[in-house]
Point group: C2
């Protein structure tokens, strides 16, 4: 089983994933008439499950859309006690040290994981558990908001696998963790 | 006279311009056998003068190299009282509100300015005085250090002019401020 923890996320030039009001309207500031998904569907097809924090889960629940994921979603939370009934069978609560969490998810047959949400990504990076990052950069300085990265103890070298420009304005860099 | 304030700087994936110890060795973590300057000389040829803060000036003075600039350097400082004798005629102290500083520099015939150093760039961005940014991104997460960006009051939209990959590993994005 291939085991891989991947990030697929968009940021501003100054590294925020949500603006000062928690908003993400700026993600759509570049006209996209043909609704280019910038590799999202291809990425999703190649993962087995998602891992996200409670905040991201609740944000997604708040969108006025149907549940957007066809793969199992594991929600990392110590405070949530149960999953709302409508998500049963799709969403699973999980907690504990990340290496244990990963063992549990792997034991269910899910190896290729989409790690989502600022806090969760930061926790994974702190323990050097991210294997690849696909970072899409929108040409705006937000000046504040929720940052993608936080302070971490150790430097982490990556390799650039691919760099793509979408819609003439949006760059997307695919990085793979370079381990010795 | 063309008036333009430009940034040309390298950052880590997580947006730092110096590591936790103030070091910049990581800038050279990608082998560069043919010493590709990644557009630096071309950029320098098209500016009239540099504007930097005291800290950046003192850092450059500390490098064990000859003075690297052929264009006038304006050092923004309230604390420095005089320029060391060896830099007379090359380096000029300047202070006051940025718009006044710019007027003074423009009045000397220097329109196209290279704005350098984290603090100085941040001050210029706070007042929306940056017209273009050429940001070179090294594929490493430093986890801490001196950030390129700081909190600023207003969102600033940019246009992507060009995106280049150097040495197969380093991306460089050229942004131009999009004003209405």
């Amino acid at each position: 089983m291939t085991k891989k923890n991947s990030v697929f996320i968009a940021t501003s030039i100054d590294g925020y994933i949500a603006d000062k009001n928690g908003g993400i309207d700026w993600l759509h500031s570049i006209p996209n008439p043909e609704k280019d998904d910038m590799g999202y569907m291809e990425f999703i097809e190649n993962i087995d499950a998602l891992v996200m924090g409670r905040k991201t889960f609740e944000t997604v629940c708040g969108f006025e859309i149907d549940w957007p994921y066809t793969k199992p979603v594991f929600v990392l939370s110590n405070s949530l006690k149960e999953i709302p009934e409508k998500y049963l069978g799709k969403v699973f609560l999980i907690n504990g040290p990340l290496v244990e969490v990963l063992k549990q998810i792997h034991s269910k047959g899910h190896g290729r994981l989409y790690i989502d949400g600022g806090t969760t990504i930061q926790q994974f990076l702190k323990e050097d558990l991210i294997d690849e990052m696909i970072i899409t950069s929108i040409p705006i300085i937000l000046g504040g908001g929720a940052p993608l990265f936080s302070k971490i103890p150790k430097e982490l070298a990556f390799e650039l696998i691919k760099s793509t420009v979408f819609l003439g304005q949006i760059t997307q860099n695919h990085f793979r963790r370079k381990r010795k």
